[in-house]
Every structure is written in structure tokens, then in C-alpha cells.
């Protein structure tokens, strides 16, 4: 049984369905990369799992360690959040409260979930800061977030997320706001902690380099739906969905773009991703797809396949 199983998850705000029937799973010690552009529904899906979406209607099924989370009482979800399900975010500065010391912020969840005393929780915070590689953790625990650099702040976020030793970590673009060298350090840290704690990880990103580096499995999302889902190596060696192919071709050194007929030129996908309020009918990628057929404009392709799943009418011929 997977640690987390998401089945046919849909999320709607009013009449606008921003996530439409997405399924995936994550095992302990494994990493799922969810890739997509802004508005593809990747963040919304994970916020729905955490029970952090307000005013949205969430349908489908999310089982975490055998327990159904969709429709679970808010209080139950709250007791899981920060304890067994943790999340880190893109911008570590605005995600940390400016008025409290990092020690206080890390200790807060520990005190709550572990019923620990203030003192014990503070010790835990210091320990975690050391664990994520912050020098002089005892002193730095008493400092406020603005005294930390971007990479250090993300380490603080990670320390906060892992203080209660959760089973699943959802990382929403954790390296996007960081320098490239710092990005690599943070990814390394996440990987080290994963093997230490046996964490299941969902890594949300639009950076294919990050996915290639740490994900075991990849889910490519477009317009609130799954476009392609497979083991990471398969997706990068042999992308099947035209959207995935386009994504890879637009990144240097990752996919076919560098060796393709363009003579090493990067190819951009024409057009812009659709807004959730104006998803096109049929395959949502068809207006931007270079190989679209008539059927693509009318009928939604099913996500088919076993080892790898692709939602494309032309799967098999291309």
C-alpha cells in the first residue's frame, strides 16, 4: 500500500474546476515530481491534500496511510498537518512570520503535536536547525527570519516541516526563489533527510532540472489534468505527450532540444497556458499542440497505459 494514494482528485472553486480527475501515489522513501506551468493545478492539488484550500469543493479520494482524507473532519486534518503531513513553500521569507524567532516558529508545531514543554520544544528546534546544516544553531534559534539568507531561510522551513518527523513532505517549488548554487544545496539536504527519515516527498516544480535530479516518478500536469505519468527516467529519455516533449525541448541540456533539427536551438511552446476559467474543450493542450488532430478539439483523451500513462489521442503513433 502506498503512503499516499490520490485517486481521481478534482478541485473546483465555484463553477471553475481547476483540477480535474488527477491520480497519483507516493511511497515512503520515494519522490514524486509534479511538473507543470502556472495554473496547471499542481499546487492546488497538494493544498487540497493538506486540507488547506478554503472555499473549494474537493472530490475524489486521498488515502494517507490507509486513512481517507477527503471529507475527513477539519480537526482530524489539522492534527495530521505539521505532524505527519508537512509542507514547505516557494518563498521562505514571506512564508516565515517576520515577528517571531525561527526557534519559536520551529518549536511551535512540536509543542502542539508532541505536547512538549516550551523548553523541550526549544531544544528540538535547536537540534533541527543543526540537522538542516545551520551553523551555531543555538544562537541562531533566537534570531528572526530577516537575519537569514534565502537558502538559510529555506533550511529553517525544512527544519520546521520535519521537526515532528512527518511521513510525507510536500515541497512546493522549494528552490525556485533561490540561487542556483543554493538550489543544489537545498536539494541535497532534502535528499539526505529523505533517506534519514524515510520520507515520502512530493516535489512540485516547473523546473525540470530539479525533477530530473531527485524525482523517482513524474506527473506532468497541464490545464488541471494529468498529461503524462511515469518513472522519471522514462519521461526524460522518451517523453510521449507532445506537451512533455515541448517542455523538455525548451530546457537546455535535458531533452531533445539540443540535438534536434533546430540545430541546438531551444524551442518554446507557442501560446500561453489556459486560464482555469477558460479551459478549451477536448484535449486542453490542443490549441498549442503542433500535432493536434480534429478529434483533439472535441474529445478529452483518456490517461492510458500501465507502466507509463499518457493522455493523448495520438499516443502510439507518434
Amino acid at each position: 500500500m502506498s503512503l499516499l494514494s490520490v485517486d481521481n482528485l478534482s478541485v473546483a472553486f465555484g463553477r471553475v474546476r481547476v483540477v480535474d480527475g488527477v491520480s497519483f501515489s507516493v511511497d515512503r522513501g520515494r519522490t514524486l515530481g509534479i511538473v507543470g506551468e502556472s495554473g496547471s493545478g499542481k499546487s492546488v492539488s497538494t493544498l487540497a491534500i493538506m486540507g488547506l484550500l478554503r472555499g473549494a469543493s474537493v472530490t475524489g479520494s486521498v488515502t494517507f496511510d490507509g486513512e481517507e482524507l477527503v471529507g475527513a473532519p477539519a480537526e482530524r486534518l489539522r492534527s495530521l498537518r505539521g505532524a505527519r503531513l508537512s509542507m514547505i513553500f516557494q518563498d521562505p521569507l514571506s512564508s516565515l512570520h517576520p515577528f517571531y524567532t525561527v526557534g519559536e516558529q520551529i518549536a511551535e508545531a512540536y509543542r502542539l503535536h508532541k505536547k512538549a514543554s516550551r523548553k523541550v520544544a526549544h531544544e528540538r528546534a535547536v537540534e533541527m536547525l543543526g540537522e538542516v546544516g545551520i551553523p551555531a544553531p543555538r544562537r541562531r534559534a533566537r534570531e528572526h527570519p530577516h537575519r537569514f539568507s534565502g537558502g538559510m531561510r529555506q533550511r529553517v522551513m525544512i527544519a520546521m516541516a520535519l521537526a515532528c518527523e512527518p511521513d510525507l513532505l510536500i515541497a512546493d517549488e522549494p528552490t525556485t526563489a533561490l540561487d542556483v548554487t543554493v538550489q543544489a544545496q537545498i536539494l541535497e539536504l532534502i535528499q539526505r533527510l529523505q533517506s534519514e527519515y524515510g520520507l515520502g516527498i512530493i516535489m512540485i516544480t516547473h523546473d525540470l532540472g530539479v525533477v530530473a535530479r531527485i524525482a523517482d516518478d513524474v506527473l506532468v500536469m497541464y490545464g488541471g489534468r494529468a498529461a503524462e505519468r511515469a518513472a522519471s527516467a522514462r519521461v526524460f529519455d522518451d517523453p510521449r505527450h507532445p506537451y512533455t516533449q515541448g517542455l523538455l525541448a525548451s530546457v537546455p541540456g535535458l531533452g531533445r532540444g539540443t540535438e534536434g533539427p533546430g540545430g541546438g536551438r531551444l524551442r518554446a511552446i507557442p501560446g500561453n497556458p489556459p486560464l482555469p476559467s477558460a479551459f478549451p474543450p477536448g484535449c486542453r493542450f490542443h490549441p498549442r499542440c503542433s500535432v493536434a488532430l480534429d478529434i483533439c478539439a472535441t474529445e478529452q483523451p483518456a490517461l492510458l497505459g500501465t507502466v507509463r500513462q499518457v493522455a493523448c489521442h495520438r499516443e502510439g503513433e507518434l
Binding site: 495530521l80 518563498d91 512570520h97 522551513m157
Partner: protein, 327 residues
């Protein structure tokens, strides 16, 4: 921090000097002649000159100003009248036959009582209602609160005071007409005399605090760190109070300092409507009788309170928000 505070105090002294000069100049330019008022009805030009000389008004304006300034610190004798005005001397009210400073001190307790009580009331009501409106944004409750806030801001303070006097005192006979007693003499009478003025002022100010709290809280609750707090599994009450409200207090504190500082120097209309012998009433009467030394004194006191309140607020920022620490 201490260096910063000292530097600010220096700046305040400078501001006070400028305000003092401007106010002094305005009164000098006014057509009102204090000597003429003091001279009385059967005034001859010879008598007027005597009075003017006695009051020191025949001196050049700069001399008058400098003697006013030095009087504040060293005290002075007024003109040739032989009247002694001990430091801090803010001039002499011929109207009340008393040094202005004594008048100010005498009235300050009333205005401070009024300001403090009203401030507590409007702060509690304003922040609480603003918070409720923000958390139920778009609901009927929110609209009701925002609408009533708008209504009370639009209503002039004398209207609120008049309605309260009419319905509570005259019609309802629930309270006697305010007869101010110092809190130490008679706490019950103190409250009874101030409760309606408190409500009047609080109604005026609470509306602004409701709107401010609501706007600031809505903004704060959309911050990523609020999402982090929820992602940690904190109960919603902790998220709202510990993580949300704390950030919201910064803009509220700013306005609060200025409001309170201004009010300490008297709420002119409210005090006059309720006949409270505070600084506002003193100012109102002094303006009516062109008692310039009193108006000048109250103006300086108000300026001092506002600038000091600003300083206190700025220092408190450093306590509330660790990003603001002064070198």
C-alpha cells in the same frame, strides 16, 4: 535605541520651537488686541498705551517671543505689571487671571480621563469588530459592520453627542447631566460623568479602527506565513490571534498614537457639548474670548503630545517588529 530616542527628542525640541514661532506669529498678526480687551469699555488711548506697556505688548515682536521662550524655562515677570509667572511660564491669561500653565494642568486631568477611557473603548470595539468583519469577509455580518462604521464616521460628533444627551439624559433620564469629579475623589461620579462622552468619542474613532483593522487583517491573512501557520496544524484561533493579529497591530498602533496624542490636548466639541471642564472646553472658550495666551498654550501642549506620541509609537515598532531596530 537610546541614541535614537535622544536624537528624536532633539528633533522634537526643534519642531516645538518652529510651532511655537508660527503660532506666536499668527497671534501677532491677528487683528485682535489683547490690550484692548483688557482695557475695558471706557478705554482711552492713554489708558490703552498704559495697559499695552503693562502687558509688555509694546515691545518688538522678537523681544516678546524671546521673553515668552525664556519664560517657559526660567519663568518671568509679565511686562511691568509686576505679575510673577513661575517656570514653566506659558504666558498669563488675563481672562482667568491665572498663569496659562496652571490652567492647563488643572484641565489636563479631565481631558486625559476622557481620552483614555474613549481610547480603551474604541480600541476594543474597533479591533474586535474589524477582526470579525475581516474573518467573515463578504458575509452579511461584514457588510453590516462596514456599513455601520461608515454611518458613524459620517455622523458629525455633535450629532452623536446631541442624540446621546437627548435620549439618555433628557428622555431616558438614565444619567444625570455630566458633572465631572476627579477619579480619586469619586470614582462612580467620574464614570457617570464620562460614560456618554466616552461613547461619543469612541463612536467617532471606532469606525476608523474597524475599517483599518479589517483591511489590515484581510491583507495579513493572505500572507504566505499564515498558510505556513495553518500547514503546521495550528488551531485557527492561534493562526488568527498569534500570527494574524500580531502583524495587524502595527498600522493600528501608528494611528492610535497620533489619535491619543491629539486627544490628550482636549476634544473640543465633545467636551463643550457635555460641559466637561477639559482642555478642549478651555480652548473653545479661549477662542471665543480671544484669550490668546491660552490658545497658544494649548496649541503647544497638543503639538508636544502628538510629537511625543509619535516617538513612543516609533519606539514601540522596534518592540513589535524585530525588523525595525534602531541603531
Amino acid at each position: 535605541m537610546i541614541v535614537y530616542a535622544l536624537r528624536r527628542l532633539g528633533a522634537i525640541a526643534l519642531i516645538m520651537l518652529v510651532i511655537c514661532a508660527i503660532t506666536f506669529a499668527i497671534f501677532y498678526l491677528l487683528p485682535d488686541d489683547p490690550a484692548l480687551d483688557a482695557c475695558g469699555k471706557s478705554c482711552t488711548s492713554a489708558r490703552l498705551a498704559d495697559v499695552r506697556h503693562a502687558m509688555g505688548l509694546d515691545q518688538p515682536v522678537l523681544t516678546q517671543f524671546l521673553s515668552y521662550l525664556s519664560g517657559i524655562f526660567a519663568g518671568r515677570t509679565l511686562g511691568t505689571s509686576g505679575l510673577d509667572c513661575a517656570a514653566p511660564c506659558f504666558g498669563y491669561s488675563w481672562q482667568y487671571a491665572s498663569p496659562v500653565w496652571d490652567l492647563l494642568l488643572d484641565r489636563l486631568g479631565v481631558s486625559a480621563s476622557l481620552a483614555a477611557g474613549a481610547a480603551v473603548l474604541w480600541l476594543v470595539v474597533g479591533v474586535l469588530l474589524g477582526l470579525m468583519a475581516a474573518l467573515r469577509k463578504g458575509s452579511l455580518l461584514d457588510r453590516g459592520i462596514v456599513l455601520s462604521a461608515l454611518a458613524t464616521t459620517s455622523a458629525p460628533v455633535y450629532l452623536i453627542a446631541a442624540l446621546l444627551i437627548y435620549f439618555v439624559i433628557l428622555q431616558g433620564e438614565l444619567l444625570p447631566f455630566p458633572d465631572y469629579q476627579p477619579v480619586l475623589d469619586n470614582p462612580a461620579a467620574w464614570v457617570a460623568s464620562l460614560i456618554l462622552p466616552w461613547i461619543t468619542l469612541a463612536a467617532l474613532y471606532a469606525a476608523m479602527y474597524i475599517r483599518l483593522t479589517r483591511a489590515s487583517m484581510i491583507e495579513t491573512m493572505a500572507e504566505p506565513y499564515i498558510r505556513t501557520a495553518r500547514a503546521k496544524g495550528l488551531p485557527e484561533r492561534t493562526v488568527v490571534v498569534k500570527h494574524g493579529l500580531r502583524s495587524t497591530m502595527t498600522p493600528i498602533l501608528t494611528i492610535f498614537g497620533i489619535d491619543l496624542g491629539g486627544l490628550l490636548a482636549g476634544a473640543m466639541i465633545t467636551e463643550t457639548m457635555f460641559g466637561l471642564p477639559g482642555l478642549g472646553k478651555l480652548t473653545f472658550d479661549a477662542i471665543g474670548k480671544s484669550d490668546q495666551p491660552v490658545v497658544l498654550g494649548v496649541t503647544l501642549l497638543a503639538a508636544l503630545f502628538i510629537t511625543l506620541a509619535n516617538l513612543v509609537v516609533d519606539l514601540l515598532y522596534g518592540v513589535i517588529d524585530p525588523r525595525v531596530r534602531y541603531a
